[in-house]
Symmetry: C2
Subunit: 325 residues, 2 copies
DNA sequence: CTGTTAGCGCATTCAA
DNA sequence: TTGAATGCGCTAACAG
């Protein structure tokens, strides 16, 4: 592969001139530009971008931390980011960490080592303090509620949406309300738990530990939920299921066992995933794709200096009434 | 951010020595190693990886071309790749191209420009000839059947699986068989079309143009399929639906309209997606995750020189009989 | 408008 | 076991 010097020689100009035409600078005579372009074509030249990155100190690449790409929740966010990245000609480094702290740390180190210019964290296991230590190396945006830290945050209010859903169920006459979560100890799960406890207490209901059903991320988990519920001493009559795929798995399996949804169980799903419309699941749209694109956009604005300091943006949710309650 | 020179000064050694401890070379005295490590810790130093990439001529990064990450088919492959990439400490650059040729080309140029060391193409719109031109810059693996070209290929046999499914339907007494596809003109779709035509002709059946239903990628498309079918003059009584999400959308919507599946329509899905087990869809497992991980592995083996020249690997499929036929 | 020159931060040959 | 010197390929300040 030829380098810039060889192009300069072939075109009979200096490397600077070659660099200028490469970067579309003005002040290059038409004749020399032609000569350079011809040499480039002739020798099939292309820049070594690593040299450009080295000199510029940036890579036009943003990293994305998520546990698993093959979950609707994250795939949808990623899609939003990818669309945005395309606009600005940025690249996305996908880092599927499976919630392993050491992998998350490796990505943070990529930020420090200048392999990426910024970072979006969809979900994490590392404590905020550890993330914070890397904020000096480049913008970091979290897709969860974070305030008063050098980290940006784009999120949707899990607390308020849970509250809304619980009140809706309560108004429909349900008193035994349970809910599912993915990871037990994630920041979002903790917010939801708090909303569950607070809201039920306020209403005069009873939050119950055994109605908090962990480990529900995918459709199979929803299917397995039926048996988990049936094995409880006392069963809830309504469920908030965080993820419409999970809800769909539950509803389908429950019905195939002769249980009624709604009826035996009222269900509210989350994310307004396409399946929820088809099955008619009442759900809460938390605008994942928009959160993803906005997260990328913030990173980009911070990299390019249009935005200074961390920002926090809350997205409002949309309650969608269908036929599962 | 300090550089290697400053570390050398702080530690009272030469940059070479610093470089040696950075790269875990032997022949560094314990005392100097200590001094260097202390200086690194003290100044909070880390390497600028772009300089390393420049000098080494590689980035430990593999690009992935796919149209949309939020489709099960691609998310699953990506997951396989990501798992493999983790093993070798490689990074993955996700390039969601929406089948736009100019975006695909941009990724190929990244290969040429040394921003990525290799490339996996899950699905494409560019012709093979154009891809081939970039093969000299680094290993390219396609997830489709490609032979006798400087491109590697890991694929699952769409022809044989379609054939198998059609014969199965035929044996069950179905004579009016149609099928869905995503893009009309993709290489895989063409293979399937050929299998459809060949197999039905051999059996004495009638392949029909109006029973080839394009534009089916997601669950909503499956739901919409019901009306499309009902509006046909003559309807098929059996369908191959490429993607269990699509099949699920179809089955659910059909049933909610009072149609029977199986009964009014027999359905065979594809991919053995989790939803197919829950709904009981007869399907063909094409081992997407394995294809993804093997694709990455091949790129990696070729980058590291363990493998020379393009390889072609076919994965066998698995027919899974459930209750939709 | 153009070219000379000095780095960007690091790995590596070569000589000691 | 160590270090000086060279260069990876490119950009940009500077001088003309």
């Amino acid at each position: 592969m030829p380098n810039i010097k060889q192009i300069a020689e072939a075109a009979g100009v200096s490397v600077t001139t070659v660099s200028r035409v490469l970067n579309h600078h003005p002040y290059v005579s038409e004749s020399k530009r032609k000569a350079v372009e011809e040499a480039i074509a002739l020798l099939n030249y292309s820049r070594n971008m690593n040299a450009v990155h080295l000199i510029k100190g940036s890579t036009q690449t943003v990293g994305v931390i998520l546990p698993r790409i093959n979950l609707f929740y994250f795939a949808r966010m990623m899609e939003g980011m990818a669309q945005e990245a395309l606009k600005y000609n940025y690249k996305l480094m996908l880092c599927q960490t499976a919630y392993r702290p050491e992998e998350e740390r490796r990505v943070l180190e990529m930020l420090r080592d200048k392999q990426i210019d910024g970072l979006v964290i969809c979900s994490r296991s590392l404590p905020l303090d550890q993330l914070e230590a890397y904020a000096e190396y480049g913008p970091i945006v979290l897709c969860e509620m974070v305030k008063d830290r050098p980290l940006s945050s784009v999120y949707f209010d899990h607390y308020a949406s849970f509250q809304k859903a619980i009140i809706y169920l309560w108004d429909k006459g349900h008193r035994k309300i349970g809910f599912t979560i993915g990871r037990r100890n994630s920041p979002s799960s903790r917010r939801r738990l708090k909303a569950y406890t607070d809201t039920l207490r306020t209403l005069g209901g009873e939050p119950r530990e055994d109605w908090i059903l962990g480990g529900c991320s995918d459709i199979e988990d929803g299917a397995a939920l039926v048996d988990r519920l049936l094995s409880l001493k006392e069963q809830p009559d309504a469920l908030l299921i965080t993820g419409d795929q999970v809800a769909a798995g539950f509803i389908f399996t429950a019905r195939s066992r002769g249980l009624q949804v709604p009826g035996d169980y009222a269900v509210i799903g989350f994310d307004n995933q396409p399946i929820s419309e088809i099955i008619g699941i009442t759900t809460i749209d938390n605008r994942l794709s928009e959160i993803g694109s906005r997260a990328f956009e913030i990173v980009h604005e911070q990299i390019s200096g249009q935005l200074n300091g961390p920002v926090t943006e809350e997205f409002s949710f949309r309650f969608i009434e269908r036929n599962s309650v």
